[in-house]
Each structure stands twice: as structure tokens, then as C-alpha cells.
């Protein structure tokens, strides 16, 4: 019986190996994960790691030298233009492969393949929005343009060259922890990534919430709560600009009032939405306003703050162009940056380019729908969603003349549905090639190159700022925008005929723009692009306050230096509170206030309106405003559907500034008529109760109360940087909120030798085990910048250069 011990010990060994190699018994394959030669230890990068490299690839046309500086920024020098994209793809993959793949999986509605059925709702939502459909159309456009195709082919081939060279031990740590491996890159993935940006920037709509608001409130109340103009608006293109008569004449259908604008049927539905605060600042000052006499361009796009960062800093130098700036891991080119002649930056246009139409199908088979007095055949797109550890999920999406039927009986995004069919008309479904914008901008030498480049930008529409060394500055509110009649697309529209369809696009030469304006600067901060004299309808909801303070500051300042611009980009002055606080202070009735209430009122009074981390005033003001909104509106909204548009902040502020007997101050549930004093005082007392609690928790100062954090894309706290000491907030130039804010701050002074500064909340390496993973974050939080170095040939021996990578053709 000597065999028995063998059998037992062999079984124990096998059992151990299986348990430690799989997730059958343990939550993680601990043996595989902790093996020092395979697992996570391999991602613990040596502090003195050597990033030098000498590699050869048959895909290259010439020699490529990459110089990595002390911040791990690659300066790429090539002999052939397309080689630069190969190496860009290779380096993006080397430092950021996991995020690149994850974003394209998410964009394509394939997240379930990685994380299982908990992502199924997300995946169905994205597929029903037609993300894959849009990316395929876009890819066709991209591949029809020889320059775009060549750059994408080279980029893809660079990413794949890196993926092929990867061994198990070199996989990014997230693949090891989640347990999967990368698949080959493709041009479609770059197109998907760009559509993801369109989703983030140009998919926001409140149509469903607004439809409910319109149905619930009287027309007069609706116009007060959701006005199409704000009193404090200082538009991107200044008031007084004269616009020519519109070339596209749009007119509402005769039934617009009866079946649409005054239709009062309620919907009950909700949808996954991109963050509405995806905004940004950009401005350019002409030489007449700067100390050097040369233009300065500034940009800080506000996006979700994540690790690894959305951005990767690079210099791309080829015989045909030399550019520097923020690149997107996932796509070729510099996206926001500068070259030897000019600089450019963007903020989101934010117009409504996603509308819904109610479809009438003949029956549940959805094969035919009623359109223009006939039954029209539906086309179906079958979406097969692979689900990890589970069977495939098949979703059949009906496509109409408007676009895919996103919501129907089978899909309401796990929320309540009213069993209607809504097709989505999204501008991002139309053919366009946004990558060409950036390829051409990298080459741009002057204003006319800039105009030629950016008119390719269709969706997401952007306010595109420009400044050049020859002294030009410009701003175009660029996009391919539907020409709408007033109110079109604010609510769900009837889809039984063509009368409610978009009637045309605004001609490119009618997009509001400014070129070397007399005031000596251009700026945008997502506010409404033009005043009410602009002949096309621009929608309702735009944030006015950042634009107001930016324009006030730029008007006042002269002899501007880059340091002045740093101070301005990181400025925390609260123009919203500047307007609202006097109304509050004038109306608060402090008779009978207790010790705490008195204390907080004094703090509010003595606050200098700056949202600094150590200030207590902004915490008090912010909580007071929230409570004031509740006191004013809770009664009106008590019986409203839960899915409803909240009144714009500016509606309430404009309301009480205009009129101290603002209609909604009265509590409709009481017989007496409440006044502004009563509402403000009640709000203050409610706020004080919350403030006492917050003070006990020790979070009364603004930095601790707001608690800005940069989350890892998986939200794993140890890979994130939470509770950062940074001020600002939503109405301030430094628009840093809880998990959202300036994702790349850039200042470019276009003197003979370009002087540029920048910083982003992340680090060049996507590896949580690298010291380059988050090393920019403290600098960013402190409002400090790095000098951006446009390296020249001959500077290879500069002591900022730490490593060299040589790429050669085989």
C-alpha cells in the first residue's frame, strides 16, 4: 500500500495548483498572481528602470529616434511621416495598452466580455445607440482619405507590434487581476475610441426629462424654469455681432404646436448619460494684450478625472511637421497642442445633436413602421454580445430612417418603460472623419490652414481656439450642426412622418466665429455661442458663469505673461456667489438665530468669494444654495415624475435677481404667500443643521468637503488618488469638482522660441507599479505647471534626456 501516500500527496498538490491557478475556490488565482516571475511583482517597476530600447521592424520606412525626458515624455524624431504614427502606436501601447483596449470595449458595447453580465445594460445601451454602427461608418470615411488611412494603418501596426512582443509577465497588471489578455488592435478600434469621445461630448441630451417637464408644468411656468436665454450670458461670439440672413430656412411643421410643443403626455424613463459638466475653457490673447507682443493661447478641457489619464504627452517630429501636446492613447496625432507655427485648443460645443422620435410599428415584430402615410420596412442589426461565464446575449435592434430604435419593450435600460418605441437621431451616425482635423492641425502653418483643417470637425462640435506666431488669433464654434426651428429636438418628437426631421445643416460659413477681434482676445467656456440675433435655434441649457468671469478678467488684464495665465487658469473666484450672496445676505432674517447659525452667517459674510481649499465660505454657500433650491422648488416638484429636468441654476438666480417676488418662492402647499426672506431664512436654517454635522466630521473646509479624487478606471481605491488638496468647483475657471475637472492645462506663448507650459492629473505610465503613474497629480493639484519642451535636433545631449529608444527598419 505504498501507493496510497503518493495518491494522497499528488492529489493535494494538484488541488493546490488548481486552486491557486483559477478562481474556482479562491476569489483570485493567487499562485499565478503572486508568482514573482509571472504575476503582479513583474509590474513593480524598478525605481531606476531603464526605458532605453533598440528594436527593428519591417513596417518602418526609415530610422526613428525617441528621446524620453525626465517626465517620461517621448520626443519622437522620424525621417518619414508615417513612421511617427507607427511609433506613436507602439508607445501608446507600451505605456497605456490596458486603458486603450478597455475604452474601445466599452465603446463597442463589449464590456460584458471582460466583466460579465453586470455590464450587459451598458453594452445594450451603447449598441442600441448605434456606437458600433457609427464607428463603422466613420471608419469608411477615414479609410477613404489617403492621409488618414496611412496614419491609422501605421498606428495600428505599431500597437500590434507591441502587443505581439508582450509576454505573460509583461502584461499590464489590470489584465492579470481581471484575468484576460489583449486582442489585436485595428483601425476600427481607433474609430470606436473617437466615437467614445463623441459619446462623452456630444451625446448629452435632456429630451426625456424635458418632455416630462413640458408635460407637467404650464407653458408659462416651463418658460420661467427652462428659459432659452440667461440674463448673465456673455456669449462666445460677443453680443452685437451682425449675422447675415440664414441660407438654410427652417420652419416648424404646422402640427408643431398641437402634437409637439403643447403636447402634455408624460413619459417615464431614464437613460445612462454622459456627465453634463463635460465643459472646458479656452482663450487666446492677441499680441496687443501680451507682455511679449506675441499671442498666448490657453486651454483646459474639463473631463472625468481618471487614472490612467485620458491624455498622454508627446512630441511628434517629422520632415513635414513638428508638434507637441496631449495625445489620445487610441488614436494617432496630437489632439491639443502646438507646432512650430501655431497653437490650438478646444472646448465642447455642447449643442443638442441627439434627438428622439416616437415610432409607430405595425405590430410587435417591428418589421414595418408608419412613415409618410405608408408602412416602411425596418432594417435589423443583430447585436451579439459575448458575456463572460455566460451564454451570448442576442439583441436585435430595429433601424428606421431616423436611426436605431434605442428604447422599446425589451429595453429601457433596466428602468421603467412606458412601452413606446423611441428612435434616436444622433449626429455622430453621419459620415465624418474627425481625425483629419488633427492630422491637418499638426501640419497647420496659418489661419487658412486652421480653417481648412477644422471644418472637417463635424461631431463632437467644438469651440476651436487658434493663435499663431504671425499674430493671428481666432475662435470658431465648429461643428456640423443641425439647423433647427425653435424648440425642435428639445423634447421627444413624433416619428410618423418626415415633418419633424432635421431640415438641413447650418452651412459651415454660418458657424459663428471671430478672427482677430478688436477686443484683443477670443474665449469660450461652453456658454451659448451667440446671442438671440443668431438666426438659428441654439437650444436652452448652457453654463454661463465661467465665460462671464473669463471675459471680465481678459478685458481687464493687459501686458499678459504666461504666469498671469497660470494664475487665471487656476483661479477659484466664484462669480455665481458674487451675484447670489448679496441677495441672500440682504434677505436672511437672523432674529432668533442660535450660536451655530450666527457663526455660519458671519463666515458667509466675511468670505472673500474664493473657493480655496482652506476656506469655509464656499462650503456654507454651496450647502445654502442646495437648500435654497429645495425650499423654492420642492413644492412644485412634489408630484412631478421622478425623471424630470431640474431647473437650470441660472433660472433661479436670474429669477431672484430680477424680481424679489419670483413666482416659485411661494410654497403652493400653504395658504399664505411665502417671501424671499422666508425662503432664504428657512434654507439657511436647514443648511446650518447639515453644516453642524459636517463640522463634527471635520470636513468644513472646502477642500475636505469637496474631496476631489482621480479614480482608477476600475474604481479600485488603492490604484486611485483620492481627497486631493485642490480648490475650485463647477462655476469657477478652475472647474475641479469631485471627480471631474481640468484634464489637461496648457498655456502656449507664441514668441519666436515657443514658451509653453502644461500639466495633467496623472502620469505618463499607465502602470500603478510605476513612479510615473501619478507623479503629475500633486503638481496639478497645487496649480503648478511643467515647462513643455519642444526639443530640437542637436539637443540630444541635453540633461533632461534620460533614455533613448532606437527604432530601425529591418
Amino acid at each position: 500500500m505504498k501507493i496510497l501516500p503518493l495518491i494522497i500527496s499528488a492529489a493535494v498538490t494538484t488541488g493546490l495548483v488548481v486552486a491557486l491557478n483559477t478562481k474556482l475556490l479562491l476569489p483570485a488565482p493567487l499562485g499565478k498572481l503572486l508568482s514573482p516571475q509571472h504575476g503582479i511583482w513583474q509590474n513593480a517597476e524598478n525605481e531606476a528602470a531603464d526605458f532605453s530600447l533598440d528594436v527593428r521592424f519591417p513596417q518602418l520606412a526609415g530610422k526613428v529616434d525617441v528621446y524620453l525626458d525626465d517626465r517620461l515624455v517621448p520626443h519622437v524624431f522620424t525621417e518619414q511621416e508615417n513612421d511617427v504614427y507607427f511609433v506613436q502606436g507602439y508607445l501608446h501601447a507600451k505605456f497605456r495598452l490596458w486603458q486603450m483596449e478597455l475604452q474601445t470595449y466599452a465603446a463597442a458595447g463589449r464590456a460584458s466580455e471582460i466583466i460579465g453580465d453586470k455590464a450587459l445594460t451598458h453594452d445594450r445601451e451603447f449598441r442600441r445607440l448605434g456606437m458600433g454602427y457609427a464607428a463603422e461608418i466613420s471608419l469608411k470615411e477615414m479609410e477613404n482619405d489617403p492621409a488618414t488611412k496611412a496614419s491609422c494603418d501605421a498606428y495600428t501596426s505599431g500597437v500590434n507590434a507591441y502587443i505581439r512582443s508582450l509576454t505573460e509577465s509583461q502584461l499590464p497588471i489590470e489584465y492579470k487581476l481581471i484575468g484576460y489578455t489583449p486582442e489585436p488592435w485595428s483601425n476600427l478600434k481607433s474609430a470606436l475610441f473617437l466615437k467614445y469621445m463623441s459619446y462623452d461630448l456630444a451625446a448629452h441630451d435632456d429630451d426625456i426629462e424635458m418632455t416630462n417637464a413640458k408635460s407637467y408644468f404650464s407653458s408659462a411656468d416651463f418658460d420661467l424654469l427652462y428659459p432659452s436665454m440667461q440674463d448673465s450670458l456673455d456669449p462666445i461670439i460677443p453680443q452685437g455681432t451682425v449675422y447675415p440672413a440664414p441660407k438654410v430656412k427652417v420652419k416648424p411643421p404646422v402640427t408643431a404646436d398641437s402634437v409637439y410643443l403643447k403636447n402634455k403626455s408624460l413619459l417615464v424613463m431614464q437613460e445612462e448619460k454622459p456627465d453634463r459638466e463635460n465643459g472646458s475653457n479656452n482663450w487666446a490673447a492677441a499680441g496687443s494684450k501680451t507682455k511679449s507682443g506675441s499671442p498666448i493661447l490657453c486651454n483646459d478641457p474639463h473631463l472625468g478625472l481618471n487614472l490612467p489619464s485620458l491624455w498622454f504627452e508627446m512630441q511628434l517630429s517629422t520632415p513635414t511637421f513638428n508638434s507637441y501636446g496631449a495625445t489620445f492613447p487610441g488614436a494617432p496625432s496630437v489632439i491639443i497642442g502646438f507646432n512650430d507655427s501655431c497653437a490650438w485648443g478646444v472646448t465642447n460645443g455642447g449643442r443638442d445633436v441627439r434627438d428622439y422620435y416616437e415610432i409607430k410599428f405595425k405590430d410587435d415584430s417591428r418589421t414595418e413602421y408608419w412613415f409618410d402615410s405608408a408602412w416602411k420596412k425596418t432594417e435589423f442589426r443583430i447585436e451579439t454580445i459575448k458575456v463572460k461565464d455566460s451564454a451570448n446575449y442576442i439583441d436585435t435592434v430595429a433601424y428606421t430612417v431616423f436611426g436605431p430604435v434605442m428604447y422599446d419593450k425589451s429595453f429601457s435600460g433596466n428602468r421603467v418603460s412606458n412601452n413606446k418605441y423611441y428612435a434616436v437621431r444622433w449626429k455622430a451616425h453621419d459620415p465624418s472623419n474627425e481625425l483629419l482635423v488633427f492630422i491637418l492641425m499638426n501640419h497647420a502653418k496659418n489661419y487658412s490652414d486652421y480653417v481648412a483643417a477644422i471644418t472637417n470637425m463635424h461631431t463632437p462640435g467644438q469651440n476651436f481656439a487658434f493663435a499663431s506666431k504671425n499674430g493671428d488669433i481666432a475662435m470658431r464654434t465648429q461643428g456640423d450642426w443641425p439647423a433647427k426651428w425653435k424648440g425642435q429636438g428639445d423634447f421627444i418628437m413624433p416619428g410618423t412622418d418626415s415633418s419633424f426631421m432635421w431640415q438641413g445643416m447650418i452651412p459651415q460659413d454660418e458657424n459663428p466665429y471671430q478672427y482677430n477681434p478688436e477686443r484683443g482676445f477670443v474665449s469660450s467656456a461652453n456658454q451659448k455661442p451667440a446671442d438671440s440675433t443668431y438666426p438659428y435655434y441654439l437650444g436652452r441649457n448652457y453654463p454661463p458663469y465661467r465665460g462671464l468671469i473669463i471675459n471680465r478678467k481678459l478685458t481687464a488684464i493687459n501686458s499678459i505673461s504666461p504666469q498671469d495665465m497660470m494664475a487665471m487658469q487656476t483661479n477659484n473666484y466664484d462669480v455665481f456667489a458674487e451675484m447670489a450672496r448679496p441677495v441672500f445676505l440682504k434677505n436672511i432674517n437672523d432674529t432668533g438665530f442660535d450660536v451655530d447659525e450666527k457663526k455660519y452667517l458671519d463666515m458667509l459674510k466675511s468670505w472673500d468669494l474664493n473657493n480655496e481649499i482652506t476656506a469655509i465660505g464656499p462650503t456654507i454657500f454651496s450647502i445654502l444654495w442646495q437648500n435654497f433650491e429645495k425650499v423654492v422648488f420642492d413644492d412644485e416638484f412634489k408630484n412631478a415624475p421622478t425623471v424630470i429636468q431640474h431647473p437650470f441654476e441660472s433660472s433661479l438666480l436670474d429669477g431672484i435677481l430680477r424680481d424679489s417676488s419670483y413666482k416659485f418662492l411661494d410654497n403652493i402647499e400653504t395658504t399664505k404667500k411665502e417671501t424671499l426672506t422666508e425662503d432664504v431664512t428657512a434654507a439657511f436654517k436647514n443648511a446650518a443643521v447639515q453644516l453642524v454635522k459636517i463640522e463634527i466630521e471635520g470636513r468644513l473646509t472646502w477642500g475636505l468637503y469637496k474631496a476631489t479624487g482621480v479614480n482608477h478606471l476600475t474604481k479600485l481605491a488603492p490604484f486611485s488618488r483620492l481627497n486631493l488638496p485642490i480648490g475650485g468647483g463647477s462655476h469657477y475657471i478652475n472647474a475641479t469638482k469631485e471627480d471631474h475637472g481640468p484634464s489637461w492645462r496648457m498655456i502656449v506663448s507664441l514668441t519666436d522660441k515657443t514658451e509653453a507650459y502644461g500639466v495633467y492629473p496623472g502620469g505618463q505610465s499607465g502602470n500603478p507599479g510605476s513612479k510615473f503613474y501619478d507623479n503629475f497629480i500633486d503638481q496639478w493639484a497645487a496649480g503648478k505647471y511643467y515647462s513643455l519642451w519642444m526639443m530640437k535636433k542637436g539637443e540630444e545631449k541635453d540633461n533632461r534626456i534620460k533614455w533613448k529608444m532606437s527604432f530601425n527598419k529591418t
Binding site: 505504498k2 498538490t13 503572486l34 514573482p36 513593480a44 517597476e45 525605481e47 497588471i173 507599479g769 513612479k771
Partner: protein, 113 residues
């Protein structure tokens, strides 16, 4: 002497095997060495156990030291729910040790059967 040689052989061959093979090749190495070098079951087990305890412990410690324990702090919080690089190193060493120990024990029994 056999014990020391076993430990050294298992450790060295494990490093070599793991360059090309999955992590569980440490079990094959320990099994093979123990089946070739005659020792008591207890000593065989201990040879595998000690070899990998030392090997995985020192390798992970060395890597982590050069990383200033940056990643070990983070991963220990994810896997062990406590911020302790040394606990993660200990866990690594013990996992290697126990697998190699039982594999070596099996090798020993194979020779004896």
C-alpha cells in the same frame, strides 16, 4: 548534504523553468528533484518548502525593494485588504513553499512506491 543540494537544485531549476513555463512548473521541478534524490518524506517536503519559501520570498522582496514597495502597498490592499508589503511578500513565499512542498512529497513517494 542531500537536503541542501535538493534545496539549491529546486530553487535554481524553478527559476529556469519559470522563464519559459507557467508558475506551476515549480511543482514539476520539486516533484522531479525529490523523485531523483532519495530522502525521507519529511525532508523531501521540507526541501521543496524551504527552496520556494526562500526563492519566492527573496525574489519578491528584491523586486519590491527596488520598487520602493510602491506596488506592494497597493496590491496588498486589494488582495489582502491590509496595507502591508511584507505580508504580501510572506504570502507569496508561503504559496510557493506549500505547492513545492507537496509536489516534492509526491516525488518522494513516487520513488518509494
Amino acid at each position: 548534504m542531500k537536503f541542501i543540494i535538493s534545496i539549491i537544485l529546486i530553487a535554481l531549476l524553478s527559476v529556469a523553468a519559470c522563464l519559459y513555463l507557467p508558475w506551476w512548473s515549480i511543482a514539476i521541478v520539486s516533484f522531479t528533484v525529490a523523485s531523483l534524490i532519495p530522502q525521507t518524506p519529511g525532508k523531501s517536503f521540507m526541501a521543496g518548502f524551504v527552496a520556494l519559501l526562500l526563492l519566492w520570498g527573496s525574489l519578491s522582496w528584491y523586486i519590491s525593494q527596488n520598487n520602493n514597495h510602491l506596488l506592494a502597498h497597493k496590491v496588498s490592499m486589494i488582495i489582502l485588504k491590509t496595507d502591508s508589503p511584507y505580508l504580501l511578500i510572506t504570502a507569496t513565499a508561503l504559496i510557493g513553499a506549500i505547492v513545492a512542498g507537496f509536489a516534492a512529497l509526491s516525488g518522494c513517494y513516487l520513488r518509494r512506491s
